[in-house]
């Protein structure tokens, strides 16, 4: 845990970026920058965060920042980490540089998973942050492997036969943990202290670390942009998005939600689930989602008990 006044006052993520009002990514970027321990390079995958913070000739980043392509943030980070080490071996580089890769859920759960898996297996010392807003928001809200069941997106539209995305969200942390890495965690920007602590932990471990941080998207989730942080708090309070970590082989629940709100509260607050309430109340789908939330929560509790 960190104390607010201990956080860096320096703003390495400048204001004046062009992210949407209420976008979680701006808040998460700023918090991430507060958790740095020293010289750092950011690698960004193609996505909202890249297109809205580095429109040439402007940049919001006051530290070295690189965007190469969509599916390869982890691979680019691998090259950077090893290059500093190699140059240090021939005396051409001195200081240690931390490397953080940032990608959306499309760039992580889907198109970037191979590069991520390779980098985790090779064990490069870097932190990978997935800004998980649960769909391809940059291209106009298409479903990804992270989009929740029942969500209405432009490629999993709520139709008269199919009520939104039929599939369930992928278990990213499980996939990452299966690589035997030292650290993986989920986080929500509604709990800044938890997130900042985790970023710092992820930087400090000597190998790769992954954080999947839930990032509210007022445009894609369709909620009031003033209520973004409320949404990702509700996601935690309903047990929809459990906050836990995997550290040196052990799972730990970071936020115990002893009296969960029904997931319906999270669903009805967002337009992407509106079709589950109107014109017909789809109790069947909502119940199914609630059941999945309960099963997942129990699964995580079990992991944490071991």
């Amino acid at each position: 845990m960190v104390v607010l006044k201990e956080l860096a006052t320096e703003e390495l993520f400048a204001s004046g970026h062009r992210l949407c009002a209420g976008c979680g990514e701006g808040t998460i970027n700023r918090m991430t920058m507060k958790a740095l321990r020293g010289p750092t390079v950011i690698v960004a995958a193609t996505g909202c965060n890249e297109v809205a913070t580095t429109i040439y000739p402007y940049t919001s980043w006051r530290l070295p920042w690189v965007h190469v392509a969509f599916e390869n943030a982890a691979a680019v980070a691998s090259g950077i980490v090893e290059a500093y080490k190699a140059m240090a071996r021939r005396g051409a580089w001195k200081e240690h540089v931390d490397v953080i890769a940032m990608a959306g859920d499309g760039g992580t759960y889907d198109i970037g998973i191979q590069a991520l898996s390779g980098a985790l297996e090779r064990g490069h010392d870097f932190l990978y942050i997935c800004l998980d807003n649960e769909a391809y928001m940059n291209t106009g809200i298409q479903r990804s492997g992270s989009t929740p069941h029942g969500a209405d997106t432009t490629t999993s539209p709520a139709g008269s036969v199919i009520p939104g995305k039929p599939e369930w969200k992928k278990d990213l942390i499980g996939i990452c943990a299966a690589h035997g890495i030292e650290y993986a965690a989920t986080a929500s920007p509604a709990y800044w202290n938890d997130y900042v602590t985790k970023v710092r932990k992820g930087i400090e471990v000597s190998g790769p670390a992954v954080i999947d941080v839930l990032s509210p998207c007022p445009l894609g989730w369709r909620h009031d942009s003033a209520k973004s942080i409320e949404m990702v708090r509700l996601a935690v309070e309903t047990r929809y998005f459990p906050i836990y970590e995997f550290e040196r082989g052990k799972y730990k629940l970071n936020l115990n939600i002893s009296k969960p709100k029904p997931v319906e509260e999270f669903l009805k607050a967002q337009g992407r689930f509106a079709h589950l309430f109107k014109p017909t109340y789809r109790k069947d789908v909502i119940d199914e989602i609630q059941q999945n939330v309960d099963t997942n929560w129990n699964r995580i509790l079990k992991l944490c008990a071991n």
């Binding site: 010289p39 750092t40 390079v41 690698v43 960004a44 890249e50 297109v51 580095t54 429109i55 040439y56 000739p57 402007y58 940049t59 980043w61 006051r62 530290l63 070295p64 920042w65 690189v66 965007h67 190469v68 392509a69 599916e71 390869n72 982890a74 691979a75 680019v76 980070a77 691998s78 090259g79 950077i80 090893e82 290059a83 500093y84 080490k85 190699a86 140059m87 071996r89 021939r90 051409a92 200081e95 540089v97 191979q114 590069a115 898996s117 390779g118 980098a119 297996e121 090779r122």
Partner: protein, 391 residues
């Protein structure tokens, strides 16, 4: 200098080792694999300071190379065929971000059907990707050009990636005597890379920003400018390398062209066969010549015109098909280089050797005779012929 027996792949690996690369990120693919195997052994034996990033795909290979190159490191990779195709997206980004990466390309046919043998389909499919492209004739050239490639790529006026292309199996796997320089001589010739921009927390830069209609075009125009600098830099580098090695390189090499009536233009290992056939024909009084291009991108149009403008007929050998186009890629380039001449040679295209199909001296003799006939009659019988194929 010592002569060592090595294959083309081994020669490339040896050159990369002597070039003191900081990072190699690569993925195995036949017939390139020996390059990365040899390099892995240098790393395992502690002979180099290089970080070897053993990536999970060619796409990640070039991605890691781009990241490494942006830190200011000297970077090498190698690939072939399907691997190069998988890198396609990254080829454009490597050149667009002005990363002076050197890649050994063991030229191989593209699927389908799958085939592991040599032709130029792979790199020809990437000819517009903004990479400098060099084609070599044998293991010695593979060695020499790999070293020179770093010097060209990293020149302040170039800052572009360079591919050194060697014919799959014919060069990659064929054991030859290679005259190898002393490590110290290579060090002195190459020196360390001096990046213009790098990822340095003390002087932060943003790389790979989004450029819309207002700036994108200017970035591409600057790449054109960098390409324009390549030839001059290459000639300077070759001059310097001659001083070190005694071997003389440039944008192209000619044989018998002073008085040639008919000529063959080609890339890579076929040039050796073509020269030998030309030598025999010249001994019989037939005025034929050969032009071998070392530099294919940027295309040395002026030198091509100077070397070929005077001949009556010309056959361009293409070891790749450009489906749906009038000619193969090399032939199209030669034709466009010569199009401003008032009196142009009669030109025809001979496609050959796809999927590693052997090209025999008799095939080339046939082409020379066709060219001589065309020189005499002024009639191109067949604009594109397919050598050595069952019709």
């Amino acid at each position: 200098m010592t002569v060592e027996g090595m294959t083309g792949d081994e020669a490339v690996a040896h050159a990369a080792k002597q070039s003191n690369v900081d990072i190699v990120a690569a993925y195995p693919i036949t017939p390139q694999t020996i390059i990365v195997e040899r390099f892995s052994k240098y790393v395992a034996d502690g002979e180099v300071h290089t970080g070897y990033v053993c990536v999970e795909s060619e796409h990640s290979a070039l991605s890691a190379c781009v990241g490494a190159s942006l830190t200011g490191a000297r970077v090498f990779t190698a690939s072939s065929s399907q691997g190069l195709a998988l890198m396609h997206e990254m080829l454009y980004i490597a050149s667009g971000l002005r990363c002076p990466i050197v890649m050994g390309v063991a030229n191989r046919a593209l699927s389908a059907p799958i085939n592991i043998h040599g032709d130029h389909s792979d790199m020809m499919g990437s000819r517009d990707s903004g990479w400098v492209q060099i084609y070599v004739e044998n293991a010695q050239e593979a060695y020499d050009w790999t070293i020179q490639a770093f010097k060209i790529a990293e020149d302040k006026d170039v800052q572009l990636p360079v591919s050194v292309n060697l014919d799959g199996f014919i060069i990659t796997h064929c054991m030859e005597g290679v005259d190898v320089l002393e490590d110290e001589a290579v060090n002195k010739f190459l020196q360390t890379r001096k990046p213009i921009f790098k990822l340095d927390p003390k002087n932060p830069i943003t790389v790979g920003a989004l450029c819309f209609t207002d700036y994108y075009y200017e970035f591409k125009r600057q790449q054109v400018e960098a390409m324009c600098h390549v030839q001059g830099v290459l000639e300077k580098v070759c001059k310097g390398y001659k001083g070190v090695s005694g071997r003389n390189y440039g944008v192209l090499e000619t044989y018998g062209m002073e008085d040639a009536q008919a000529a063959v233009v080609c890339l890579g290992s076929t040039a050796g066969t073509a020269r030998e056939v030309a030598r025999k024909l010249r001994a019989k009084g037939k005025k034929v010549g050969v032009v071998k291009l070392w530099l294919y991108r940027p295309f040395p149009a002026e030198e091509i015109t100077a070397a070929l403008g005077h001949v009556k007929a010309l056959a361009v050998l293409d070891r790749a098909i450009s489906f749906g186009a009038s000619y193969g890629a090399l032939c199209s380039d030669v034709i466009s280089a010569l199009h401003t001449l008032k009196e142009k040679p009669h030109i025809f295209n001979a496609v050959y050797g796809l999927g590693g199909r052997d090209i025999q001296p008799s095939d080339i003799e046939f082409v020379f005779n066709e060219a001589l006939e065309t020189a005499k009659t002024g009639i191109v019988k067949e604009p594109t012929m397919f050598l050595g194929v069952r019709e």
